[in-house]
């Protein structure tokens, strides 16, 4: 009885692709199938050799920032709390109507907040974004939670600075200063934590300062000489933060902040 051709091809593919056998080594076991199998096996080898695309630098970092933000929002879980509470209540019609009105107002508010998430400095929604961040800090009580938030905000300021450079070839000094301030605050919070709790945050902060260094250096070619000097100062401040995080004595006694 003739063997199932799908199975025969699959066996030969596994020899060629995973056991690294040559096509010639594999096919002669079934000489009748030579003319049919050989071109398919060679094609599979060509497909396997196609290059795996490299994502652009910054794409992974941007996704990680959004994922961290989504995780923080999930941890807060106010929506889930409300729905669980409502599930256990027997509400009157009037109460339900009032509740619906409150929810409608809240939804509009949340809509504005959500729309502001991708806004950039100078955009009308940007103040909403910054206010939301202050509120997030206000309702976070643990030191490690606050440190994580400051790191996320510093990362956002870096992304905003990069986007502004990409679109306008210009630096927003307030955003740059804010990025350094957020990093500084995160480091202060981390230094107040016990070692086991601080360790992952130190690693993340080190990753952030390295990113700041790389990205700010790349931006120098895109902006004016004056703004380039501002970036140099910021890069030097990031270097100080990195030294502090590594437990070394920084070159400057106090980390400098970019002058206005």
């Amino acid at each position: 009885m003739k063997e199932n051709p799908d199975k025969v091809l699959d066996e030969r593919l596994s020899q060629v692709l995973t056991e690294d056998k040559g096509v010639e080594e594999s096919v002669p076991q079934h000489p009748d199938d030579l003319s049919q199998l050989e071109p398919l096996l060679r094609l599979a080898i060509e497909i396997k050799a196609l290059p795996r695309p490299e994502p652009r630098p910054g794409a992974l970092r941007a996704t990680q920032a959004r994922v961290r933000e989504a995780a923080v929002n999930k941890q807060a879980g106010w929506g889930g709390l409300l729905s669980r509470w409502l599930a256990g209540q027997r509400v009157s019609l009037a109460f339900a109507q009032a509740l619906a009105a409150v929810i409608a107002i809240a939804v509009i508010g949340f809509g504005t907040v959500a729309a502001s998430a991708d806004s950039l400095p100078h955009s009308p929604l940007y103040p909403v974004k910054r206010t939301t961040e202050r509120v997030q800090l206000f309702i976070t009580f643990s030191t490690s939670g606050k440190a994580q938030l400051h790191l996320s905000f510093a990362e956002r300021r870096l992304n905003e600075t990069m986007e502004l450079v990409n679109c306008c070839h210009s630096i927003d000094d307030t955003t740059l200063v804010s990025m350094l301030e957020e990093t500084n605050l995160a480091i202060k919070m981390i230094s107040a934590l016990p070692t086991p709790e601080a360790e992952p945050l130190v690693n993340r902060a080190l990753e952030l300062t390295a990113q700041q260094h790389t990205c700010l250096s790349q931006m120098k070619g895109e902006v004016s000489t004056d703004e380039g000097c501002m970036l140099d100062e910021a890069i030097s401040t990031c270097g100080c933060y990195e030294q502090i995080l590594k437990g070394e004595t920084p070159d400057m006694h106090q980390p400098t902040v970019v002058p206005e």
Partner: protein, 186 residues
Amino acid sequence: MPQKSDTSAIVERAKRYEPEALAELCKLYYRDVYSYIYYRVSNVQDAEDLTDDVFLKMVEGIRSCRSREERSFLAWLFRIAKNSVTDYYRRQAVRNHLPLEEKHLPAYDGPEVPAETKLTQERLHRALLRLTEEQQQVIILRFIEGLSNAETAQILGKSEGAIKALQHRSLVFLRHILDEGGGDPL
């Protein structure tokens, strides 16, 4: 530095919505997901946006994820990616009616790759885009991502036998497209 072999422990932490654990999963699997999506959509910007979308959906669904080991977790992510790409093409179909083969393919750059090889790879990629959605999926998952029949079957919701048959048909059809010059630029 976390490794893919640590996936099980990282997923456990990610289920508690620990931001660092979720960011680590991104770091470990970003390239796999991006590569799959890139070969499906052939556009760097769209591939990045869709990859981003996959990892945000990962946060949403992480608590219901029963896959803990490296390979099964990757298969779970590929299932999300597959659905995201399907939605993407549905939206594209509504917005415009450009057939896949008319899409602009990115250049196969890199000075170390000989010009002839680049041309062959471009032809192959172009021909790949002329396959049906299922055929593309099986070719990318099996040969580019290196997944087993069982893993591919799990992602596509088919039996292993069906995957073997689909893989055979896809290779035959792809060979036919290339022989007919269907991978040449328009």
